[in-house]
């Protein structure tokens, strides 16, 4: 089983962290390739960043889909789950986002969860995704630490303490029975946080890796009937002309 885990931002150190987190839970026999797009923003902290992360993400999906053999499944490793529907159109195997995976996983473990994320301005996106996935009824709150994404990598920051503090408040005040980590950059914190907070703390990178691996083990691929059928070919122009379906770089 070959899984491709795509970090939609262009910060390679975060890709390394994501790859490590995915491999830590993958079964024997599963190969994980973590990739960084060749274009786009260094971090994703707005709708603008997110929209502009999608072309680079789709190029990586297309590349892995065009390989021989193609990848068996894909993880979109940013908590905004950018480009998920478009990625499903391009891919044949399952594609799962880390917000999607983490929220679903949390719903199996407790009655409600709180998302602990980076910047408050991204809370709206988290709520939109919760609705899209049917998880509104489980999502107690979205709490922000107001720590920029790339500051999570700074060992001198007090990010861990801040995330633990918000998580404890979620348990005490929101009625949260589980915590969902709201950024791929927090992927390495889940185990330490579960110990510190006393309820399950879910990292979406690990969760999505296991879900895609499981779907592949069941022999399931994305549905090719209806909304996620392959995109129709047509002219693409300008800076994005290489994205035309059928061009060498796009399968």
């Amino acid at each position: 089983v070959h899984l491709v885990v795509i970090n939609p931002n262009t910060t390679a150190s975060m890709t390394a962290l994501i790859g490590k987190s995915a491999r830590a839970v993958a079964a024997a026999g599963t190969t994980v390739t973590a990739v960084t797009p060749q274009m786009g923003p260094a971090s994703i902290e707005s709708h603008y960043d997110e929209a502009l992360s999608v072309p680079g993400l789709l190029a990586e999906i297309a590349r892995a889909q065009a390989a021989d053999p193609p990848a068996d499944g894909f993880v979109v490793a940013c908590f905004g789950d950018p480009g998920l529907d478009a990625a499903r159109e391009l891919a044949d195997g399952p594609v799962v986002g880390i917000a999607e995976a983490a929220m679903h996983a949390a719903s199996f473990l407790g009655r409600g969860f709180t998302v602990v994320t980076t910047l408050a301005r991204t809370a709206g996106r988290a709520w939109d995704l919760a609705e899209r996935y049917g998880m509104t009824r489980f999502c107690r709150a979205v709490r922000a630490c107001e720590i920029p994404v790339l500051a999570l990598e700074d060992p001198g920051s007090d990010a861990f303490a801040a995330i633990v503090a918000e998580s404890r408040a979620a348990v005490a005040d929101d009625g949260a029975e589980a915590i969902v980590l709201g950024c791929a950059g927090m992927a390495d914190l889940a185990a330490r946080m579960t110990a510190a907070v006393g309820v399950p703390v879910i990292d979406g990178v690990a969760a999505a890796t296991k879900i895609v691996e499981g779907l592949v083990a069941m022999g399931l691929r994305k549905s090719g009937h209806g909304e996620f059928a392959a995109p129709l070919p047509k002219p693409y122009t300008g800076l994005l002309s290489e994205f035309e379906i059928g061009k060498p770089d796009i399968c």
Copy 2:
């Protein structure tokens, strides 16, 4: 990893089918024990049957939880997901129902699914579960074949043809982009049906097995804080006195 898959009805041949389906997708290193309760109905086709399947199911959870070492996780292998909340109170590891698992898995693969089940009178329960899990927005319809549960085992029946016919109608008329099999007794049909229907067909036994296995791999257990904390001990009387928490047979 040791998973216990419980068939809540008392028909051992169905337990064998369920165990086989779970093992077919389990990773190397995962042991699956399929068990049949020692009390209750031979099949579950009404709220009455479902309610009376729960004591036997809970006894099996308690037994596996009391073993040394305890089971790592549990699958409740009846599409009504009987006793799921109570099972979560008793268990330390994750507990997932097959309706829950199948609906979530389908939501990763297409925009909407139809459940194809046995008797129309159980459709209400399927809708209740879809709501409980946040899957109403994905559930296009619940279709019944009007085949009793135990008739699924009869090789001379036309069950397969009937289920395929309903599934094709779901794709054509409901806008279903995936099919969820609505009975554990259909667990061996998924691959053949995917080929016959042309969209992903999901068996909940396999799906739940992979989800529980994945949660265990991530080091996650059910939340012990709040709704799923262990039940409080108290006197139990009459026929059910053995279910008193602390009694030898109940951990």
Copy 3:
């Protein structure tokens, strides 16, 4: 008119309280029989307790249904409304739960209500029932006094004061315009509490008694078409073999 009011737990003193509350509001010409199951938990404070209260409850429904003449209607007198759907399958007359009745009654009197209940861990069940009955839009909050069910009977406890305090907070902070008592063991407090809190305080035992009595007066029985049709007969084994449909003790 003969109504059977079933206390799903096995504490006879609570059955006596429930019977008294039902009779206090019954019309002239209505006979109320309050019964205690012969098996199960002494109180219901978890999903586990609730699941294990259902067999004893169903046995009482079956007994009263098999009497000559059968009971005209039934009240399930525990705020978790255990086994309500299964009871409706067994009975011919109307069956109403006390949470169901109290929430509906409150919706006729004010724009929103708060449920004041015993233990916080049961709040999830109250919310599930509110959703099941369409009452989510009226339910402002579920507040717990953290008083165990059986402690309500202790005259030396400060249960009344605690329940009044939570109710007043509900009016002040939740926007509640009515209070729903969240435990059958509070049935005798409604009138005193209405006086103390200044908004309508609803006891579900009384509410359910009047609703069932009203449905019987209108000549209405549970619908036998569809979900609540009588359960199909089939083998039952082990400890629960006496629950097989057709066995002497089950109609």
Copy 4:
């Protein structure tokens, strides 16, 4: 117990039918007064009619509220439940509408109901009320017979046959397990229809009468705290000046 049942339209023969239906189910000891407003439309078949039925309805509430002793409770006997919130502000006792009562009663008897009403243009109002009362989840459909309200009184019409035909279609095609009669003018049909259709058929006049009677028996009045507090006095001018709070005709 003294209940006032108000027919919001000005057709006295319909008031007589409504009074008879209410008395047929009232308990011994309950007095029912059925009243016709002194102003407004002869039937209610549009939002315009409904809006203009409300002043006459409120005048009757005020009159009965100002009597000595005041009425104990009120039924608003038109399926659009006109003026219900305003009536609750004026009254001290409970006020229940017949759509409200019928929908709630149906929800106790089967999983879903269909409303069978007069003109299709009123279906939107029925859906609005279902939402207002939390009954959307139970309401399978609203079916119209296209029979004007006053034609229901014509013994030569084929109204009964038409209503039965729509009701049978509801059971067969909508999955309805109960039928709600969508007009007060159908109040005398419920028993015959239950026999003809084979599922419970609910008349809102009877249902509302029993619910109000039950609330009064429990000692409950409308909540005076918040939304349904008595209206504030202020100048009223023109044709409606008599509606000023404090004027002789308005308590």
Copy 5:
């Protein structure tokens, strides 16, 4: 383009304010007539007031509709949007309420809004309208200043300061990104408040005026098919007999 803006209460000074606010935003070529009903309450602060404002409002709609040429469109200028559905039945052109217009406009500018209104007892009505218009998901809260409607006109009152204070609290505590003014009597405050609060503050009178003007510019009228078709004629009696469709004063 000729728009008629109706103040449903009978306070002429408020009509003047409303007319001025509408004209301030109207395009060149748009004529605005602001009218006061000839009957009804001096202010609208309860369901009772609102119900009794509707006949006077409908008479004004009918009058403007019967003029030659008829008005092109209508604004209902009270935040409870009284009689909106009935008005749509009478009118041929578009009819828009100010709560409706303000909520929709706010939804174009920020993710969520808070309504700042006069009396807390009207909050329920604001929530009902938000639901009716699909705006529940945008409505963060309804906050009351507890200032009576007519006190808004008193230059010596501290109404402006109180409304600003609630609006700032909405931004800080509710997550509001826009403010909706909850009373037509606040129509002249929007610009000053936008400056004071720092987020868009929307006056419904202006918003409704622009929406109706826009619909007329697009050549659109209310749909005459279905729910908003013209009311059926029938006898009207008593004080309201002049409202009979076809009478001289009603088109």
Copy 6:
């Protein structure tokens, strides 16, 4: 007032049609500039196309925002409303999508509408937008003509007849009281279709133009507080490096 109407696809003839439709309804004093992006797909018929239309759209927003004076408001003229949230972050004035505008406008005119669109595979997107805008309760159905977007421009096609046929079916079978045209390429059909179908038919280009013009007339801009605040600057690399905030081409 200067409005910029952006056609997110790169087909200039469609931009011309869109510009004409916007100008046809704009008030005297409003200038409309219709623009075509310099990169991206020739038509938008999948999630893939939509995602890849967003960079070109954002570049046009940025350009018009950087002009002196900046544009007063923006219309996103593709029925998928691509990049709407990101565009709101970049712009200071209001930004409205044509699906958003058309659905809101329809909700003012009738109880429910049907969207008539091009390809069935885009129906899911229309439903997602209806949910996002609170319009699910008004959206009766999404019907597809299976006409590709660019075929709408072919005068020899039978597109008009097909769209009328679906619209008439919507009125007859869906209960639609208005029709929303589901593609910017249908903008010139609204008036002819209103005549042919007999209910209001709404073109989103016109509707969005009037809504943005109205918001500007009211002095309102997008909320800069919270979700739609300007994006944070950060490095952008590769093909998309010109999108870095602060680069010459991006304000």
